[in-house]
């Protein structure tokens, strides 16, 4: 009798067999993905397309790293954009002022981001849901106002102007648009691979346990605070790489990169694409940027269009596009299995 209740309560799929792919399968997928992206400039002679993919790389890394917090750990950060901004400004400033090579500037920016994330994370991750969201938001605002007011360093509301030097390194010349494009794609693919590995590692399952039931996790011996801080810092690093790509792309950095709306867009992207699949945020990024570009071209009431879309996803589908697709696929597969 209890069996019957179980079937009803669970809905369509009480049995979930989740195939776990080995690491090399992901690597094969990544290589195929990179090959397709790398072939685009030779197939289409469109600068706009390459620009679009570069922006997708920057925001895709940012949004996917946010999903490590939101989807995998249950930490809803409204301030994740601060690390995107920190990446853009840190990298831009190092390139403009310190006269270092691009790889060194990237490594230094990552180090700065890590320090900032450890300090901010140590304060935030102890807080419960809504307080965590608001305190992360507060830090975002703080960093944004520091950028605005520290004019001598950051250029205030004008941003970092005058362009970023791009000295050739390892034979790579980022002043060449196609090379910049390939470089961004490579960072995206490597970043996604690393995050995928984190998500599918024992640590990734520790995060899922914390998301589901942090109390229980601590009663099986998990140091919840340390795990949350670790993922907070890791996510910050990937967001920072996104910011660096953006800085290279626009050849500077602007206060909007560190404004809270960037964090909002990250959450929006995750809602659009869905948080239950690894690539959901990536799909969301592509959707948002397409939406962004078309809406701004067609109308000046861009906010209304986005608002309607977000309402459709939040109230209509009640999940992201990838979640919807996966559910639909599972239902279809179960039906096919039943018939055969």
């Amino acid at each position: 009798m209890s069996e019957l209740n179980v079937e009803n309560r669970a809905g369509a799929a009480p049995f979930v067999t989740r195939p776990r792919r080995a690491a090399y399968t992901d690597i094969v997928f990544a290589i195929i993905g990179f090959a397709i992206l790398a072939a685009l400039p030779f197939l289409f002679d469109s600068k706009a397309l390459l620009d679009f993919v570069i922006r997708c790389s920057a925001f895709g890394l940012f949004a996917t790293s946010l999903n490590l917090l939101v989807g995998y750990t249950g930490l809803i950060s409204f301030g994740h954009g601060m690390f995107f901004g920190l990446g853009a400004y840190g990298f831009g400033l190092l390139m403009q002022r310190a006269n270092v090579s691009i790889p060194l500037a990237m490594v230094c920016t990552l180090a700065i981001t890590a320090v900032a994330a450890v300090v901010i994370g140590a304060i935030c991750v102890r807080l419960k849901e809504i307080y965590f969201a608001f305190v992360t938001l507060a830090f975002q605002m703080l960093i944004h106002s520091v950028i605005l007011s520290w004019q001598s360093l950051t250029g205030g509301d004008q941003g970092l102007r005058g362009g970023i030097k791009r000295p050739v390194f390892w034979g790579i010349d980022l002043t060449n648009h196609v090379q910049l494009y390939i470089f961004s794609c490579a960072l995206l693919v490597i970043g996604l691979l690393l995050m995928r590995q984190i998500a599918q590692s024992p640590f990734g399952y520790t995060l899922r346990m914390i998301r589901d039931n942090a109390t229980r996790a601590s009663f099986i011996g998990i140091n919840v605070w340390r795990a949350k801080l670790t993922v907070f810092v890791l996510a910050a690093l990937f967001a920072s790489v996104g910011g660096m790509i953006m800085s290279l792309f626009v050849s500077g950095a602007y206060p909007e990169f560190a404004y809270w709306t960037i964090s909002g867009e990250g959450i929006f992207i995750n809602m659009l694409g869905g948080v239950t699949t690894f690539l959901g945020p990536m799909v969301g990024t592509v959707l948002l940027l397409i939406l962004n570009d078309t809406a701004t071209r067609l109308t000046e009431h861009y906010g209304i269009v986005l608002g309607v879309v977000i309402l459709f996803f939040a109230l209509g589908l009640r999940k992201g596009l990838m979640d919807f697709a996966v559910d639909w696929y599972r239902a279809w597969r179960d039906k096919a299995k039943e018939q055969s």
Partner: protein, 251 residues
């Protein structure tokens, strides 16, 4: 050997646990009974670190656990299950067990390898079999029946190979028949795993049948300790707790 020495805990002016001293011999099976609000759950929360005692010591094999964090206490060998099954709703039974074994082996932070780790399989399978969850291993925890969720909660505690297992009402919310099945399972675990088990239970039939020793709590104090026979004959217990018609039948 778990020795609780003079522990107290107050909430505002209310003494939820008042100078409790108890010994749980290694390999013993003890039932904790007492009316609602007697401080049974608080007593468990103090031992497991969910609450910090105001005073007193909790010695596990001579090491003081009082005031330590839950993960720390768990690692010393005190596992617990909860009154309301505390599980990971979105993970399957086997994922839950594999992840928990990984945590026990201090591999919860490993990032460079894929889940599940080969070295966690044996222990996870053993506990799944032990609790009789083998045919449900691929089910998501939220889709399990109430009784199976309680078993999964106990399985989580057992994964850690605890010296002491604390079960907060393992039969809560179950029908009579299911209760007996559950308590037989607990008894079987105690026999097979040779661990110290302490459980909270309301059903007097079960307590008197299963538990070799019983602790009666009332208003945060120990009212009596002893074998089922001693407890049945204890005038203070009859007066304070078992004196009602409902429970007189059980005696």
């Amino acid at each position: 050997m778990l020795e609780v020495q003079h522990i107290s805990k107050s909430f505002g002016g209310v003494k939820a646990t008042d100078d409790v001293t108890l010994d749980f011999a290694t390999g013993s099976l003890t039932a904790v009974i007492g009316p609602n609000g007697a401080g049974k759950s608080t007593f468990f929360n103090l031992i497991t670190g969910a609450l910090k005692p105001d005073t007193g010591r909790i010695l596990l094999d001579g090491i003081d656990m009082a005031g330590r964090s839950p993960p720390d206490i768990v690692r010393h060998g005190i596992g617990r299950a909860f009154q309301v099954a505390s599980i990971f709703p979105s993970l399957t039974v086997s994922e839950t067990m594999l992840a928990a074994v990984g945590a026990d082996q201090r591999r919860a932070g490993v990032m460079y390898r894929r889940f599940p780790l080969a070295e966690t399989r044996e222990r996870a399978d053993y506990v799944i079999e032990l609790l009789g969850l083998a045919n449900k291993r691929n089910r998501v925890a939220s889709a399990l029946s109430h009784g199976d969720q309680k078993l999964l909660d106990i399985a989580l505690a057992l994964v850690l190979e605890p010296k002491v297992l604390l079960l907060d009402e393992p039969t809560a919310g179950m029908g009579t028949e299911e209760r007996w099945r559950m308590i037989e399972k607990v008894h079987e675990l105690w026999v097979r795993e040779k661990i110290t088990v302490v459980f909270i239970e309301h059903d007097m039939d079960i307590v008197f049948k299963i538990a070799p020793s019983i602790v009666v709590l009332c208003y945060g104090r120990i009212l009596a300790t002893g074998t089922p026979d001693e407890i049945r004959k204890n005038p203070a217990v009859i007066e304070a707790y078992l004196g009602t018609d409902e429970h007189a039948g059980a005696l």
